[in-house]
Amino acid sequence: MKLKIVVASGKGGTGKTTIAVNLAMSIENAMLIDCDVEGPNSHIFFKEPMVKLKDVSIPAPVFDLDTCTLCGKCADFCQYNAISIIGEKLLFFEELCHGCGGCKIICPVDAITERDHHIGIIEKGGNEKLVLYHGLLNIGEPFGVPIIRKLKGFADDSKTTIFDSPPGTACPAVESIRDSDYCVLVTEPTPFGLHDLTLSVDVVREIGTPFGVVINRDGIGDDRVEKYCKEQNIPLLAKIPNDIKIARLYSKGIPIVEGIPEYKTLFADIYKRIKEVI
């Protein structure tokens, strides 16, 4: 079975997508899954448009108001406060519903059935060498985790899969990191970068995934991130220099390994180092 590698970071904008895309492009027989369903960006580095593959829905209750006795059991049960009974009226707040199905089970008169509540889509793209899957959370929907779970199912065991994680340390990032063989934490050598790296390290250690660090925009800031990695015995996988050429390529949606092919070795080496550890 091939490796599953997730690229993550506490702070946003440190270069997760840059690393994920360029790493995937530097590995033979790889595929890319962009788990940042709130703001997916990997597709920007491919010329081919993304094509819709499937809808993602979660179950949501439908209330038969003729049968409903307004007993309020569902409203009392719902942990997300998605149902409330005010006077003679039952109110349902769809955007708070997690689709657990508890209301349907607890209703004593079977007044609740379920329908699909559409929360987003999954699209496929990339090119003939590298397949890309990503998800898009609908505007106004709060929870992207069900889409991330579906996306992870597209990983093909015969290919090395690179996952591009959303930023942060909360549930969407945790869901993206979980079940991977290795986590690449991307940071920048600034106080914000260091602080958010320490938060990510806590998360990855708790999940138990082996991990290493890539310092992006090396040259700005100072060496505190490097010192921290040394103290904590965290492998430093690579340092990517703060190069205005890279920022310009990024702004235009051109992968580094295409715009400056010399960087191909750097990304191939990251993969080599990960393989040595595992």
Binding site: G10, K11, G12, G13, T14, T17, D36, E38, G39, N41, I44, P59, F77, Q79, Y80, E95, H98, G99, C100, G101, G102, I105, I106, L137, I139, G140, E141, P142, F143, G144, R149, P166, P167, G168, T169, A170, C171, P172, A173, V174, T190, P191, F192, H195, D196, L199, D202, V203, E206, I207, I220, G221, D222, I244, A247, R248, Y250, S251, K252, G253
Partner: protein, 287 residues
């Protein structure tokens, strides 16, 4: 009336916190809020002195007593989040706190228990009170913590007679973003003119529109791609969205951060000036 403004961007790393911190230095009579509860950075520039701390209980989590459990499989069958294996082993880290397992368990082997998911703080800074929080590693319910932080900010504003709340928003468009912008008077969208910056800012602007919140735009690092900057200007023009300013790429932002200061405190240079102009325009719209 207390006015609330949230700074968002969709994509991370566009300069939300850098700008918000400077606005906090420029504004008068305000409460500062860091709503990026799962990767909060504002405190690094503000050095808040914590005055009060409260435990944040997220959603409850299932706890199973294996001595009572009869392995009937009902929890596994009914849990929609994969928190139970087919052999009924519970994985609390996958639990979303819905309590269905507790309800269906015929022998009461499962109990929903409180989970300490983080801490919320009320602090003092050189610019006034600051309200912030820390979500524990890998916890859920970050939107709920943002809601708590915002409620704290409103209370503090009321108690101390402040008339402005400035909220540093999280990246993305999901629950924490929604919780940071519902009901505010104005959002400022910080756009970095990369294709991804544009893509994500468009999505977050739609979220603001969805919740009927007026938006202003500011372009940060506009000179990394002037072509894209032109496109953003045109888009905003067509949509009738006011652009309150453009800021050039400037190392001052990093230097100020290294010095643990806001840009407007650290330097009087062109970046500082641009931020001051932007804040003036925002104040005009807000008040």
């Amino acid at each position: 009336m207390v006015k609330e403004i949230t700074i968002i961007s969709g994509k991370g790393g566009c300069g939300k916190t850098t700008l918000t911190a400077s606005f906090a230095a420029l504004a008068k009579n305000l409460v500062i809020v860091d709503a990026d509860v799962d990767a909060a950075d504002m405190h690094l520039l503000m050095q808040p002195k914590i005055k009060s701390k409260e435990v944040f209980n997220g959603l409850n989590v299932a706890q199973k007593d294996d001595n009572i459990c009869i392995n009937c499989g009902k929890c596994y069958e009914n849990c929609r989040y994969g928190a139970f294996d087919p052999d009924n082993t519970l994985h609390p880290e996958k639990c979303e706190g819905c309590a269905v397992c507790e309800m269906v368990c015929p022998v009461n082997a499962i109990q929903m228990v409180k989970r300490n998911a983080g801490e919320a703080y009320i602090s003092d800074t050189r610019f006034g009170p600051m309200v912030h929080a820390k979500l524990h590693a890998g916890e859920e319910a970050s939107g709920k913590l943002v809601a708590l932080v915002r409620q704290n900010a409103k209370n503090v504003a009321k108690e101390t007679g402040k008339d402005l709340i400035i909220i540093d928003g999280p990246p993305g468009i999901g629950c924490t973003v929604i919780a940071s912008l519902t009901g505010v008077d104005l959002v400022l969208v910080v756009i970095e003119p990369s294709l991804s910056g544009i893509h994500d800012s468009m999505r977050v602007m739609k979220v603001a529109k969805h919740f009927n919140i007026p938006a202003l735009v500011c372009i940060n690092k506009y000179d990394i791609n002037e072509e894209n900057t032109k496109n953003i200007l045109k888009f905003c023009n067509d949509e009738g969205i006011e652009i309150v300013g453009k800021i050039a790429y400037d190392d001052t932002a990093t230097e100020a951060m290294m010095d643990e200061k806001t840009v407007v405190e650290y330097s009087d240079g062109s970046m500082s000036q641009a931020i001051k102009d932007i804040w003036q325009k925002i104040e005009k719209v807000l008040i």
